[in-house]
C-alpha cells in the first residue's frame, strides 16, 4: 500500500497544481479565491517531504507496510495542517490523520483499508467542521464516496473496483453541490447566491479520488 500511496500523492500533487486555477475560480465564485492555491501549496509540500525522505524502497512484510502506510498518511496529514491554512488545511489534514488511525489498526485487504480509511476521513471532517452532507462542502463528495466504496467492497469488488466506485460517487457528489444552498464555510455567507456554483472543496476531493482510481486501475 505504501508505495502506491507515494505514487498517488505525487500524481495528485501534479494534478492539483494543474487544476489550481480551476479550483481557485470555483472559490472566487462563492468563496475567497484561494482553494486551488492552498491545495497546490499543501500537496507540493508533501512531495517535498517525500523527496527529502529516505523512504525504504519497498517494505515487503504486510505488517511493515501497514505501519509505513499509516506513517505516510500521518505525515501527509500533518504536512497539510502545517502548510495549507484556511478551512481546507485542518479539514483535509484531519482526514488524513483519521485515515492513518484507521489503517494502522490493520485491515484484511487493501480494499478494506481504503474503505475504512475513507470512512474515518469523512467522520473526522464532519466532527471538526461540525458539518454533514447537503451543506455544500467537501463532505458532499467524500461521504457518498465512502458509501459507494463500502457497497462495492461488500459486493465483493476488488481494490480497483472499490476505488473506482468511490471516485465516481465523489464526482457525482461534487456535481450535486451545484444546486445546493451552502450552510457551512465561506459560501454560506452568500445565502441564496451560493446556489448554482460547484463547491471547490468537493471538487478537489473528487480530483484526489479520481487520480487514485486512475492509478489503481493501471495493472
Amino acid at each position: 500500500m505504501h508505495d502506491a500511496l507515494v505514487a498517488w500523492l505525487r500524481v495528485a500533487a501534479g494534478r492539483l497544481h494543474a487544476e489550481a486555477p480551476a479550483l481557485t475560480a470555483l472559490d472566487q465564485a462563492i468563496g475567497d479565491g484561494d482553494h486551488g492555491i492552498n491545495m497546490d501549496r499543501g500537496f507540493s509540500a508533501i512531495v517535498a517531504k517525500l523527496d527529502g525522505q529516505e523512504v525504504p524502497a519497498g517494505s515487503d512484510p504486510a505488517a511493515d507496510d501497514t505501519t509505513a502506510t499509516a506513517d505516510l498518511l500521518r505525515l501527509a496529514g500533518k504536512t497539510l495542517i502545517s502548510t495549507v491554512g484556511g478551512a481546507a488545511g485542518p479539514l483535509y489534514g484531519t482526514a488524513f490523520l483519521r485515515a492513518a488511525g484507521a489503517v494502522a489498526g490493520g485491515q484484511p485487504s487493501t480494499a478494506a483499508a481504503f474503505v475504512t480509511g475513507l470512512e474515518a476521513a469523512a467522520a473526522g471532517i464532519g466532527a471538526l467542521g461540525k458539518s454533514t452532507t447537503g451543506e455544500k462542502t467537501m463532505l458532499d463528495a467524500i461521504v457518498p464516496a465512502a458509501g459507494a466504496a463500502r457497497a462495492a467492497l461488500e459486493a465483493g469488488g476488488d481494490v480497483a473496483r472499490v476505488i473506482a466506485a468511490a471516485a465516481d460517487a465523489a464526482e457525482a457528489g461534487a456535481l450535486a453541490t451545484v444546486p445546493m444552498l451552502a450552510t457551512k464555510g465561506r459560501a454560506s455567507y452568500l445565502g441564496e447566491r451560493s446556489i448554482g456554483h460547484r463547491d471547490p472543496g468537493a471538487s478537489s476531493a473528487a480530483i484526489l479520488l479520481r487520480v487514485l482510481a486512475d492509478s489503481t486501475a493501471r495493472p
Binding site: D34, S82, L128
Partner: protein
C-alpha cells in the same frame, strides 16, 4: 463605460509568493522599535516581548487586511500577529510559535475572527500548547450582514476585531488576569456590530483576476473582508443612503436608542481615500445624531482592509465608562498610536 473594478493586476510586488514575507520585512524595517518579525513563522512580535507577568494577546489571519493584524502589535494592543497567505488563515504551527514566543507566564488570549479556517487553525494551535500554556480564545463575530447563523458558518468577524484588540490589549496592559482580559474581549465583541459594502472588487495576487465583477454603477452590499461577494447588489447611491444601508441594521441589531453613546468606526476597505471616508463619517454622524445616539469616540481610516478594494464598513460599539477608559489608554503600534 467599463467598471472601475481593477481588471489587470497592478501591484507593488516582486514575485507574488514573496509579497507577504517582504511586506512583513518592510514592517520590521519601518518599525524596529515596535516590532520584530519571526520570519520563518511569519509572526509579528512585540520588540520588547515577551512581557513578563502580562497576559499576552495573539491574533492572526490571512494577509491582505493590513494594518490588521501585524500593524496592531505593540504596547497596549497585540503581543503577536500571525500572517497567513493572502486571505488564507495561517496554520497552527505559526500560532503555536506565536503563543510560545509571547507567553509571559500570565496566559495567552487568542483573538480569532469567525471564519471556519481561522477558528479551526487556532483551535488546533491551542491543542498543541495545551497543558503547557494557559490559552483562552475569543471569536469575533460582528458582521450583521450575515443574518441567520442557523444556516451559515455564523457571523463573520470584521471591524470589531480592531476594537477588541485595542481594548482587550489595554486591559492586559493594565494588569488584567487572563479571565479578565478574556471577559473584556467578549464584552467588546458583544457590544459591537459591523457591516460593509464594496464599490470595487479586489485581486488576490496569486489569482491575478478580480474575485468578483461589479458593473460601473453597482455596489456589493454586505461584503466580508476577503473579497467575497456580499449579500446583495444595489445601484450606486449617495453616500448618505449607502451609510444608511449599513447603519440601520447595526442600530437595530444592537438595539441602540436615544441617549446611547457609541464609538463610531468608519473603516476603508483599502482603495477608498480619506476624503471619502470622512464624507462617509459625516453621513454616519448625521444619521446617528438624528436618532439621538451620540458619538463619544471615533476611528476613521483603513484599518481592516481587503487589499485594494474600494468601499467602506461601519462598526458601532456601545460604550460604557470602562470601555472609554480602555479605549483612551496608551497604545503604541505601527498603525494606532496615542497616549505614549
Amino acid at each position: 463605460m467599463a467598471t472601475n473594478a481593477p481588471v489587470a493586476m497592478k501591484k507593488l510586488v516582486n514575485r507574488v509568493e514573496d509579497l507577504v514575507p517582504e511586506s512583513l520585512a518592510g514592517l520590521q524595517a519601518a518599525h524596529p522599535d515596535i516590532v520584530r518579525i519571526d520570519a520563518p513563522n511569519q509572526v509579528v512580535l512585540r520588540a520588547d516581548g515577551p512581557v513578563q507577568g502580562k497576559v499576552a494577546l495573539v491574533s492572526g489571519g490571512g494577509s491582505g487586511h493590513e494594518p490588521l493584524h501585524g500593524g496592531f502589535v505593540g504596547l497596549g494592543m497585540l503581543d503577536a500577529a500571525c500572517a497567513g497567505n493572502v486571505f488564507t488563515s495561517p496554520v497552527p504551527d505559526q500560532m503555536e510559535a506565536a503563543t510560545r514566543a509571547v507567553d509571559g507566564g500570565a496566559g495567552v488570549l487568542h483573538i480569532v475572527k469567525n471564519y471556519t479556517g481561522d477558528v479551526l487553525n487556532f483551535q488546533m494551535a491551542a491543542e498543541l500548547v495545551a497543558g503547557e500554556i494557559e490559552v483562552s480564545s475569543v471569536v469575533t463575530n460582528d458582521d450583521v450582514a450575515v443574518q441567520d447563523s442557523l444556516y451559515t458558518a455564523g457571523r463573520r468577524g470584521v471591524g470589531v476585531t480592531v476594537l477588541v484588540e485595542k481594548i482587550a490589549g489595554a486591559k492586559a496592559e493594565a494588569g488584567g488576569s487572563l479571565a479578565e482580559v478574556t471577559a473584556t474581549a467578549v464584552k467588546v465583541n458583544a457590544a459591537g456590530r459591523s457591516m460593509g459594502l464594496a464599490l470595487t472588487s479586489c485581486i488576490v495576487p496569486a489569482a491575478g483576476t478580480p474575485t468578483f465583477e461589479l458593473g460601473p454603477d453597482e455596489v456589493e452590499v454586505g461584503i466580508g473582508i476577503h473579497g467575497e461577494p456580499g449579500r446583495r447588489r444595489e445601484k450606486l447611491a449617495p453616500v448618505d443612503d449607502m451609510a444608511e444601508w449599513l447603519v440601520s441594521p447595526i442600530v437595530s441589531d444592537l438595539g441602540l436608542s436615544r441617549g446611547d453613546a457609541v464609538l463610531a468606526f468608519v473603516n476603508g476597505m483599502g482603495g477608498t481615500p480619506l476624503i471619502e471616508l470622512y464624507a462617509a463619517f459625516n453621513s454616519v454622524s448625521r444619521i446617528l445624531g438624528g436618532q439621538g445616539i451620540s458619538i463619544a469616540r471615533s476611528l476613521v481610516g483603513p484599518y481592516i482592509t481587503s487589499l485594494e478594494m474600494a468601499g467602506f464598513s461601519v462598526t458601532l460599539l456601545r460604550l460604557d465608562d470602562e470601555l472609554v477608559r480602555l479605549w483612551d489608554a496608551p497604545v503604541h503600534t505601527p498603525a494606532l498610536r496615542w497616549g505614549v
